[in-house]
């Protein structure tokens, strides 16, 4: 491994010597485990290339605020930055904030992952990390109740009913209900009922398949979920799970490390199980998305140096280091490396294999105005949870919200795409 790193760095160095100058670049990272890994590794890059890296890391929504403020006022000094392809990708591309990456080698990235990186015929960002939806469950509680991990929505509901025990304060089921935050995790439910959020640039979450899913979701959370579900996102549910109050939890795959860490969780690691997301009545295509990528700023004044950094930061070697640190990277090759696989949780790897084969590459309506669209869909989710999926006017609400989302698509010129 060290040798491969050396070779890579020598290549970068050689390339650097051709147009050598003492340059500085400014890199903006997110508060993310991979960002931490990069920060620690940056001195290696600096030594090998002589390029000074000024790095800042910010919490994700503050990163967006800062990038937007800088790019929208055309006064930015950012060279390379981490980005969320599904949340801001379309908008950043439309405003010409990403630099096109011609000649970059994308062969090691799955086609699904490149969906979010390509616009037209060019690629504008490099996928970094992926996540997919899984079912976390308490092996001990299921065993005690004599249930096997659910593989369908019907089984999930039956299991939730059986495991729900108000007397001991344990809820049978938990999942995000906090409006916009819930939209991403509910997407798999929608897909498995045969529904979609958007289809050909039109909002279709008010159609029957999607509404069945939304009703199911609301019913599950109202009957077997924690108190105040409509305000809970992962940062609220995780402590509940870690405190032993949740029997089953559907969410993104990235939280596994923390719910088995004895310094954080009251549950012993061997009592925590991960299962592939259950199948719905129509299909089983949970989401598997590129949650973070890295891009070069079009306004960058140091494009050569920036490209060098980008290449290094998304390299196979660093991806391997990421995997060994339990970060689920986007590159394909690291997922077939036996040394890495030996270290990762087998169920996690299996759930990914399933999602990689059958999953859907989006977990939200893929559009520029996705922030507002998520809030609108979130209103329907909240209404469903508040009425256990049984509200008489739920269909009307969904239709109204779909109309609003269609308006957004029209306003941004993305209707019918």
């Amino acid at each position: 491994m060290k040798r491969k790193a050396l070779v890579l760095l020598l290549v970068v160095l050689a390339a650097g010597l051709v147009g050598a100058q003492a340059t500085e670049i400014r890199v903006l990272l997110a508060n993310h485990p991979y960002g931490e890994l990069l920060k620690a590794a940056i001195p290696e890059f600096e030594q090998a290339t002589g390029i000074k890296v000024n790095v800042e890391s910010l919490q994700e929504s503050q990163l967006t605020t800062k990038l937007t403020t800088e790019f929208a006022t055309s006064s930015s000094s950012v060279d390379v930055f981490m980005t969320r392809p599904l949340q801001e990708g379309k908008m950043f591309y439309k405003n010409g904030w990403y630099a096109p990456l011609a000649g970059f080698d994308f062969s090691d990235f799955p086609k699904n992952a490149m969906n979010a990186a390509n616009f037209g015929t060019k690629s504008y960002l490099v996928p970094l990390v992926t996540e997919w939806e899984v079912l976390y469950y308490r092996k001990d509680l299921l065993k005690k109740a004599g249930i096997r991990p659910p593989t369908t929505f019907v089984e999930l509901e039956a299991a939730a009913k059986k495991l729900n025990d108000p007397a001991t304060g344990i809820v049978g089921f938990a999942s995000r209900g906090k409006g916009a935050a819930a939209v991403t995790q509910m997407s798999s439910y929608v897909y498995n009922y045969g529904g979609l959020y958007l289809d050909n640039g039109k909002a279709v979450f008010d159609a029957k398949p999607s509404m069945d899913a939304i009703r199911y979701y609301g019913r599950m959370l109202a009957n077997y979920g924690p108190q105040g579900s409509t305000s809970l996102s992962w940062e609220n549910i995780m402590p509940l799970f870690q405190a032993g109050k949740v029997a089953m939890w559907t969410d993104a795959s990235v939280f596994y490390g923390q719910i088995v860490d004895p310094a954080k969780s009251q549950i012993p690691a061997d009592a925590v199980g991960i299962a592939t997301f259950p199948a719905g009545p129509k299909t089983n295509t949970p989401y598997i998305v590129v949650s973070w990528g890295m891009a070069m700023a079009k306004q960058s004044k140091n494009k050569d140096a920036a490209l060098k950094f980008l290449t290094w930061a998304t390299s196979k070697d660093l991806a391997k280091r990421g995997m060994l640190a339990n970060i689920t990277m986007a590159r394909s090759s690291v997922w077939s490396d036996p040394e890495i696989l030996a270290k990762m949780n087998k169920d996690l790897v299996d759930s990914r294999a399933f999602a990689a084969k059958n999953g859907f590459p989006y977990d939200r309506p893929y559009m520029s105005a996705v922030g507002e669209a998520r809030d609108r869909i979130g209103e329907v989710v909240i209404a469903s949870i508040n009425s256990a999926g049984a509200a008489a006017d739920l269909d009307k609400k969904a239709k109204d919200m779909a109309a609003k989302v269609n308006e957004l698509l029209e306003d941004t010129g993305e209707a019918g795409q």
Binding site: N31, H32, N54, L58, T69, E70, G169, Q242, A252, Q266
Partner: protein, 272 residues
């Protein structure tokens, strides 16, 4: 006399109660900073039954550039407050004595504007002037928050000082500025100490301006707390430890400030 005694006991009990209410969340933050996460979120809540750890503090001080953030916050805070006193005290005095109500509201208007409306415009200006990531940009932006507080609090305070004091000094031949410096200011100890304390606290805690106008070199402490709010993790213990690490110097510095301000004032009185 008897009424006085029961009154004193009642108020003592009330003071104790209020102190506990104020302290309670702070005690929770303090004790959480010494807990492992599993103990912070435990149910039922573990108020006393946990094994304390210092790993949170180690993470806070070792991993992040804490000394640098502290220096930045301290320098920006001290200079913003000092500059605001320099500009604000004469203005407040003038407003109080000449009843310049509209001027006072005008200066206050600076504080009425929502912080977000400054982000983009200031970013444009400061980046064009190549002042990004400098103390100057931060100090100027903090002064905008702090100056109105100084002017507002002090103009009200000066108004409560009887005008006869000014008049007798001026009859003796002192100029207005001399009256202010040697006579009125020393009498305004409590007011100035309060205005200074609050101003320093506002600067110390400011997040929004510092986030946009600072980059790597001039990052301030409040931003450091967010270092522990990550994409898929909230490091509760470290956030609490970072909060304590931010609160403690603020209190110590305000204590130093208060002493310094009071000393400075009494010196002026002795000289004059």
């Amino acid at each position: 006399m008897k009424r006085g005694r029961t009154g004193r006991i009642v108020s003592s009990i009330l003071i104790l109660l209020i102190s506990l209410l104020i302290l309670f969340p702070f005690l929770w933050i303090l004790s959480s900073s010494f807990k492992k996460q599993v103990d912070i979120i435990a149910s039922p809540p573990r108020i006393f039954s946990f094994a304390p750890v210092v790993t949170n503090y180690i993470r806070v001080f070792a991993e992040q550039n804490f000394p640098k953030y502290f220096m930045n916050s301290a320098v920006v805070g001290a200079v913003s407050v000092a500059a605001s006193l320099l500009l604000g005290l004469p203005a407040a005095y003038s407003i109080a004595r000449f009843r310049q109500q509209r001027l006072s509201v005008f200066i206050l208007v600076a504080r009425l504007m929502p912080g977000i409306s400054f982000l983009m415009p200031w970013y444009i200006i400061f980046s064009r002037l190549k002042l990004m990531d400098t103390y100057v940009a931060l100090i100027l932006s903090h002064m905008l928050i702090v100056l109105p507080v100084v002017v507002w609090v002090m103009s009200s305070y000066f108004r409560s000082i009887p005008i006869e004091i000014d008049e007798s000094a001026m009859v003796d031949g002192a100029t207005r500025q001399r009256t202010l410096a040697s006579l009125i200011l020393p009498l305004s100890g409590p007011g100035i100490v309060t205005a200074t304390t609050l101003s320093f606290i506002f600067s110390w805690n400011n997040f929004m301006f510092s986030q946009v106008l600072s980059m790597e070199k001039t990052r301030t402490l409040p931003i450091a707390v967010y270092n522990f709010v990550s994409y898929a993790e909230v490091d509760w213990g470290a956030v609490m430890a970072a909060a304590v690490a931010i609160m403690t110097p603020a209190i110590i510095l305000t204590m130093i400030f208060q002493k310094y301000v009071v000393q400075g004032l009494t010196l002026g009185a002795v000289k004059g």
